[in-house]
């Protein structure tokens, strides 16, 4: 917990419990592809923040723990709920948020996902909750 307010230092340990080499091997624009209940067990916004700081473009999972999901959207990190069974390590992915479509360019498969609520999409489009509230001066129903 001593590292909690030192995000750059904390980022060096991102997802290391799952994959020890993750902080060293992750590259700008990468996707994190996960299974069920990703982000379980905490309300800490530091969790999606350090993932975003590593350059991750989006997190794609079969399901998310709800607070992680919300936090990801609020910091402008797309969290996509879809079937990840047909995605393998190294596949090239393209995310089309407004079409609710993830394209596996390597395998040439379109993976559809349930369309996000307009409020969440609006927050993501502004880059997160803070820029959204700054722009509109309020929380509004999209």
């Amino acid at each position: 917990m001593s590292l909690r307010s030192n995000l750059p230092e904390l980022a060096k340990h991102t997802l290391e419990d799952a994959r020890k080499e993750f902080p060293q091997s992750v590259k700008e624009g990468d996707f994190v592809v996960a299974g069920s209940n990703f982000g379980m067990g905490s309300s800490r916004e530091q969790a999606p923040l350090v993932i975003k700081m590593c350059g991750v473009r989006a997190v794609v999972a079969k399901s998310f723990a709800r607070i992680f999901y919300r936090n990801a959207i609020n910091i402008g990190l797309p969290a996509i709920v879809c079937n990840t069974a047909e995605i393998d390590e190294g596949d090239e992915l393209e995310l089309r948020l407004s079409e609710a479509k993830l394209i596996n360019l390597t395998k040439k498969i379109d993976i559809d996902f349930p369309k996000m609520s307009k409020t969440m999409e609006a927050i993501l489009n502004e880059g997160g909750l803070l820029p959204y509230v700054e722009k509109y001066g309020d929380l509004l129903l999209a």
């Binding site: 001593s2 590292l3 209940n37 309300s43 607070i67 909750l129």
Partner: protein, 420 residues
């Protein structure tokens, strides 16, 4: 128009249109916002970036707690706490300083009341649901916005009803019931949902036990856990000189639940969650010969005064097993003081316990009580993920404070019914 669940009623009452249905995304007014020393520093950074809204509204309903690492063990954490302390004081908000207690316990003692909508930067914010409030945990940015705008966005959750028939037997507690519930639901069985507990066994529980149930709703992934407000709620609020804040509140008879789980309290035995997940549950009678090195009785899940009285009854005239570390952390200063006045602290010390100031303590490994490599901890807290208590090379078992006390005496995981 169909009836409404507790979550739908409370959320609806906090929207402009007054009525909501599951799946809708709505903007709601919030009654209380809070943060603590673990998320507060980030929240304060975010609030400072935000021009919209005002910090002048509901300052007496904006609370900062210093509870996670008290007293602070490192200079980094001291600096974080200083930031939270100075910010809340200089802005005229409420500061619940180090030693006053765990945020969820203090919310339930001094602030939360039936029908409130409460958001805080901690996953166990749902604890206040035991008083008939809709309370849910969020991240720092969310709460920063909620503190300034006094509103937030919510997706109205589907409701899952846990109906409990019968009555808990001697030596069997709310903690055992929620562990049993988790063994059925799993750690993602209620993701995004509101768990509404009802039935004769719930009516029979006092609010102390109800808070233990709602506290661990999040362990099934739930957005919140809620229990109707009744005469027991009124009695509890009276104990804290807040009876005027009481109102009856229940789900409609024809409310629609997405799913339902029925349990019977009558045959329920004390339950134990094995490493390393709170849904990995067995009755204590099926857990044999597990030697324990450390027992922690504490956390926002348990160690309200009723728990402490039970623990003291078990420890009366008894000693902890030789070489076992026994750490007891009351959930709040109010509980601690009652323990002093009622002689509970004396009983604990005579049993060989270290009694620490009120706070989160051993539960998540931020300060004292971190286990050694290979240690087995038995804890009355809510999570036993690897490394949760500060050392991934230790194993954590979860159970009621009574089971923890019996285990501390025997040195192996033991059935509390033999001691009561």
């Amino acid at each position: 128009m169909s009836g409404k669940t507790l979550a739908e009623k409370i959320i609806g009452a906090h929207t402009a249109k007054g009525e909501v249905s599951p799946g809708e995304v709505v903007i709601v007014k919030v009654d209380y916002t809070f943060s603590h020393d673990a998320a507060g520093p980030l929240l304060i950074n975010q609030i400072k970036k935000l021009n919209a809204g005002s910090l002048e509204t509901d300052k007496d309903r904006t609370i900062f707690f210093i509870d996670h690492a008290v007293p602070s063990p490192t200079k980094e954490l001291s600096n974080d706490q200083a930031k939270v302390r100075n910010y809340s004081l200089s802005n005229g908000m409420v500061l619940s300083d180090a030693g006053n207690g765990i945020c969820h316990q203090v919310m339930a003692e001094d602030y939360s009341s039936p029908g409130d909508l409460i958001v805080g930067t901690d996953s166990h914010t749902c604890t206040s649901g035991g008083l008939g409030a809709f309370a849910t945990g969020m991240g720092a940015t969310d709460i920063a916005v909620a503190m300034k705008l006094r509103k937030t966005w919510l997706r109205v959750p589907e409701s899952l009803r846990v109906k409990v028939e019968g009555r808990l037997g001697k030596g069997v507690f709310a903690k055992d019931l929620i562990l049993k519930t988790l063994s059925h639901l799993g750690t993602d069985g209620a993701t995004y949902k509101s768990i509404e507990f009802e039935g004769p066994a719930i009516d029979d529980l006092d609010v102390y036990g109800r808070l233990t149930l709602t506290n661990m709703a999040v362990e099934a992934g739930a957005k919140t856990g809620i229990i109707a407000s009744d005469e027991k709620t009124r009695q509890y609020l009276r104990e804290f000189d807040r009876e005027e804040e009481w109102k009856p509140l229940g789900a409609d008879e024809d409310a629609i639940y997405e799913s339902e789980l029925e349990l019977d309290a009558d045959p329920l035995e004390p339950q134990v969650a094995l490493p390393s997940s709170p849904d990995n549950v067995k009755p204590v009678t099926e857990v044999h010969d597990v030697k324990v090195n450390e027992v922690f009785i504490g956390s926002c899940t348990n160690t309200r005064i009723e728990d402490m009285r039970t623990v003291a009854r078990i420890f009366q005239g008894q000693k902890k097993a030789p070489g076992l570390k026994l750490i007891v952390t009351p959930s709040s200063q109010k509980v601690y003081l009652k323990c002093v006045k009622e002689g509970i602290v004396e009983t604990l010390i005579n049993a060989g316990a270290i009694v620490t100031p009120a706070g989160c303590g051993v539960c998540f490994g931020a300060l004292g009580g971190i286990p050694a490599d290979g240690d087995v901890i038995f804890s009355s807290s809510n999570r036993n993920f690897p490394g949760r208590t500060g050392n991934p090379k230790a194993d954590t078992f979860l159970g009621s404070p009574a089971t923890a006390a019996a285990t501390a005496i025997a040195g192996i995981i033991s059935d509390p019914r033999e001691y009561l």
